[in-house]
Structure formats: structure tokens, C-alpha cells
Amino acid sequence: MLMKRFLMTIALYTGILAFLTLGINAWYLAMDQSDDLWTDKFKDVPAHIQICNFGSSHGLYSFNYEDVCGEFTCFNFALASQSLSYDLRILQQYKDHLKEGCLVFIPVSYFSFFGIEETQEEEFLSKNRQYYDFLSPGQIKEYDFSTHVFKRFFPALDAYETLPTVLFFGKASGNEELWSKSALDMDVSADAALAFERHFIQEKLNPSGERIVNKEEVSALGQMILLCREIGAVPVLVTTPYLEEYLEEISANAPDFDEEFSAILSPILTETGTAYMDYSSDLHFTARKDLFMNADHLNKEGARQFTNLLLENYGNIQK
């Protein structure tokens, strides 16, 4: 009898707690209108894509198809901190959405081929969470079921200190605002130094100070090109524009870098016969702070101009 009453009390408590948890989670879902990771776009990936791009934040912020989207079906598959190996996984999942002859821009940034294995990176688990929103479990590295449940169905359990503010004040998307910023309003040299630290130093060097070549990422690029060909798409490798402060930071601190980068990229281009368009120091952009949001990312207007230029130049090449 006593045990029965005890179990009933515990069951009642657990039931109310579960009910409140579900209620608060539903409330949170209704109030959170943000898309900080830019993953909402994957809820509705169009069919018959004719132009698309992959890449990290360099791909995410450098492609703006607004001038051509009336004429073509376009899609930006890039996400912040996305590696080539994740580009490959996304392409594998969405390859049926690409129309035959689809133009696939694959950004290769200076950091793309270097560094320790992605799963060994300190920030890996936190940056890996964005893929639980849309990739199938088999495509997610180090897949974890509980993370999947929390991320996709119970985001309120993952909100921590932001929970009360989102519940009571809501949360709007700040992506457009962020993308529309201008580098004119910031100390670009300081930002370039930070970007250099992130792209060339942190987790990129071995204990003796030599650059680590990441074989998984190099191989992923080769596989992407092969997969594009297999499905009848046209891969084009691109390096997006950077501000001169960022380029100066590289030439001052890593003068031999160009050589190392080319030593990896050239054999891939030769073996696969893929086009490579390097806009890293393109004069249309390198001195135009008004077209950048920081040292190495274009802003919305810069991305529009770059995308138009890229498509125009690619058309000229084809002619």
C-alpha cells in the first residue's frame, strides 16, 4: 500500500514534469523565429537546381543569387565552418535535387586542405550540431541519438541562458542584418589578424610548426568532383574574394603558403580537368571595404556583385 502510494506520487510528479517540459518546449518553438545557423533553408531544397554552391562561411556569404533566381533555380548549400567532407555528404544527400548540367561552385578556401581531422577539433561537437537539423543520421559524423532528439525536437532543452529571454521576448532572425554589415565600420586589420590565427594557426600546425595536410578533406574534394560528373553536374572550383588586409597578413606571416596551396590543388585540377576560378585578390573587390562584412567575407551586396561577375566570367570561359 505504502509502496503503491509512493509510486503513484512519483508517477504523478514525473507526468506533470513531462507535461510542463513539453509545454515550455512548444512555447519556445513558437517564440524562436531565428535561424542563426542558416539551416532553415534545408527545409525546402528545390528540385531541378541549375546553379548551386557549397562551402564554409566563405561560400555562405559570397553567393547571392537574387539577380538570377528568376531565370534559374539556384541554391546555396554552404554553412559556417563547413568542411569539404561535409560538402560531400550534403551533395550525396541532395544529389537528386540537381538538374543535369547543373553548375556546382565548390569554394576552396586557404584553410580547406589543412589542419587536424575535423572530429578531433576542439569545437567539433558544437559545430557538428547544425547538421542534425537536416542531414540523415548516416551522413552525420560521430552521430549521437540524444543530440539528434534535443536538436531537432526539443531545442528548448538546449537553450540554457537564452531560454527565459526567448520565451518572454521572442527571438527574430538577425541573419540579414549581419550579412548587410559593412567592413567600413570595423578595424579590418585586427579582424584580419584574428582570421589569420583561425585559418592558419589554430589546429593547423603540428608541434614542430609545420602545416598539417588534411588528407580527408583533400580526398573529399576529389570525390565531390567525381560525384558531380557521375550525376551530370558541372563542378567549378572557386576561391572567393578577400580584403587586401587579409592577403597582406598571409604574405607577411606565411610567405610560402601559395606554393603549398597550389601543390595540393594543382594535381586535382590536372587529374580531373576541373575549372578553377581564383578571385582571392580580384581587383574588383580587394580594396572595396563597402562590399565586405569583415576581412574575408563579402556582404550581401558584395555577394550579389561577385555572383554576377562569376557567372558572367564562367559564361565567357565556356564561349
Partner: protein, 471 residues
Amino acid sequence: MLFFPLIFTVYWTIPHRYRWFLLLLSSYYFYMSWNPKYIVLILFTTAVSYTSALFLDWEAHEGRRRFILFLTLAVCLGVLFFYKYFNFFSLSFSSLASFFLPVHPVLLQLVLPVGISFYTFQTLSYVIDVYQGRIKAERHFGIYAAFIAFFPQLVAGPIERTQNLLPQIKNPHSFNRQKGIYGAKIMLWGYFKKMVIADLLADFVDGAFANVYGYSGFAWILVMFFFSLQIYCDFSGYSDIAIGTAKLLDIDLMTNFKSPYFSSSVKEFWSRWHISLSTWFRDYVYIPLGGNRCSKARQRFNLLATFLVSGLWHGANWTFVIWGGIHGIAQILENLFSQPLSWLRRRTWGKVLCGLSVCLFCGFAWIFFRAPAFSDVLYILTHSFDGFGHPLSYLMQGFAALGLYPLKILYLFGLIMILAMYDFLHKDRDILLEIPKKKKGLVWSLYLMLGLLVVFFSQKGVAAAFVYFQF
């Protein structure tokens, strides 16, 4: 996840005469799920202490009894020494010897068995109590083995006394609803402390100690404040979960923490912090050394020696010994200045001042406890006030270095305030017993709020081990 509900169900279903067997089996399974081969060590220590206690009961000759006692202590402490301290003493000896001749230390590649310090001390107190005639030796090997390996407290205490726990494992129980509810409540509070506060603070503390020279100024003051709370919430959280789990089986374990940061002296702090260990050292080290019944100088020596050993118990490193020594010296100084201090404590402001001093002192001592090496301690002590000349930027840079922005600071200190409020109210009474006397709706609301805090704010996706498992 299913382990305890299963044990709970079977425990209350089977007749009492088989329950010791269930407890033994589940305790060994629990331990073996960490590292199966080290179960041999528990079995060995249990067999040795069980047998020697029987001999001590049976043997009347004092000389032979003393020999059995020393032999047992040597064997049990020998196992602990071999696994926990061999490398430490080998390194220390070779460092000392290297002043005279080059010596290469002999080092063993051993994994420290989880909870070895806890169950070794439990067996030692049993054997000493039997030797001193305080208890009779247990005849039933299975019940004795279940007492040593009782799973809720096996790996991180409380270090139970034979008189308290052994009879409870032996005697019949019937389910007590009030005790069960109390157990569930104390477990919930333990989960809050461990999964919400300790795991959150661990992120800042571990990050800073992984890169000691990367931080300076107010960041270190914050880190040490966070560590003081992390270790308290981690360890007392575990104790609460252990106590609550045992209560659901109608077994009472001793209280291990009682609002230690609300102490007004270091002596009081030790009567509220890890009580099962501090009373163990009092009864089996301090008093046998002579305790208070000797000259003042000898008393001070006894106190210092006890705390040095206590430091060594926590870890095989000189930083732990120094940590213990600092606490010992602080208590000697408190004794020396007992008159002005007791005058101070009689006044409210004086009591608050003493309380703050104790917190600051403990925070300072924790640096020795947490820092991996003495050089790190020196760095932290000499760089904690870098930039103090510009107070505002000193504070701002400290928060920024740890990635603490205003909302996160508010969140963190909000959670800490809940802890502080509970501990303040819990200081001189059991708040969990007081709450049910209030209106039912209020009681339910309070526990549902606590449950929601655990559900929403516990750190997910981290597998943070309990800090004290390593001891």
C-alpha cells in the same frame, strides 16, 4: 538509466534474506561496469579484512592481536600505496636522491582503481573497531562484502562506519514512504548541484586549467570562485544522490556535507565538509596521535600531521599535501587567536567577516588542490591581480576572458543564488524536512520548479565524471 529502477523493484519484491545477495551482486556489477578486473582488489581487501577481524575476535593475546592489526593495515594500505602512491614516492625519492647521484625513477603504468581510497578506509575502520572492541566481527562473509561494496557509496563515499551501515544491511526492512519521498527529493537536489551547476562551472575551470598561462588577472579570481563551487556541487551532489538512493532502499547513510561555505571558521568548515572523511581522520589518526589530551605543542603537531595525511589521501602530489598543510596551519592559527576570534564571532558583522574570510581562504587553498603543478600555482598567485590598477577593465577583461557576457553572467549567478539560498536555510536544520510542513501546493510547485531547472539547465551532451571518483 535502468540499473537503479531494476534494483529498487527486485529489492522490494524478494524476501529480506536474499537482499544482501542482491546488494552484493548489484554493487559488484556497478563496479565492474567501470573496469572488471579491479573487482579482484575489492575482493582481496574484503577477504583480508574479514579474515583478520575474525582472528581479532578470537585471539585473546594482546601481542598477537596487535600483530594481526598491523599486518592487516599493512596489506590494505599496501594495496592503496601500490596503486595510488608508488609513482609519486618513486619520483619524489629519485628527485631527492638526484642531488647526490643520478637515479632513474621506477614508474608503473597503472590505472588508479575508482574509489580505492574510499573502500580501503571503510575496511580499515572496520578492522580497527573490531580490534578496539567497539564492534564484533561479522561472521557472514556475504553481508560483510555487501557492506564494503554497497554501490551507492562505493566509489565516492560517504565513508560509512560499520556501526551505522552493517546492521542496516543485515536487518529486515519494510518500505517507508516518507523516507522514500525524502530520498527522491535529496536525489533531485543532488542532480541539480551536479548536472546544472558543477558541470556548467567545469567548462570554465577545465578550460582555464588546460591553458594556465593563457589567463591572467580577474579571470583567475573567477576561475577559483567557480572551482570552489564546482567541487562542492560535484562532490556533495554525488553524496546527496548516494544518500537518496540508499534511502529508497530504507538505508540511512551519514550526512556528508552541511553548508560548508557558511562556516565562520576553518574548524567549522571541516565539521561541514566531507564529514565522513574528517570524522574518520579525527577518530583514526588525530585521536590515536594524542588528540587534545596532550601538550599544546603536541596538539598542534597532531593537527598538522592529520591534515597533511588528509591532503595526501586526496591525491598523490605535493600540491595536495600543501593544501592539507595550509588547512592544518589555519586551524592552529585559529586556536592561537581563539579569544579575539570568538569575540568577533559574537557580533553579527564579525560573523559575516569571518564567514567571508573562510570562503576566501578556502578559495585560495583550492588553487593548490586543483593546479596540476606547483609552477602553475605560482603563476596563478602572481598573475591573479594583473591589471588591478584599472579596476573596471580588470573586471571586464576577466569576464571576457572566460566568454562571460551579461546574460550568461546573470544566468550563472542566478543558479548560484539558488544554491546559496538553499545552503543558508539548510545550515542549522534539514530544509528538506521543513518544506513538507508548508502548504501542499507550494511544496509541489517548489519541487516541480527544481525538476524543470534540472531538465532544462542540466548540461547535455557532456559526460563529466565526478571529480572525487579519482580519489
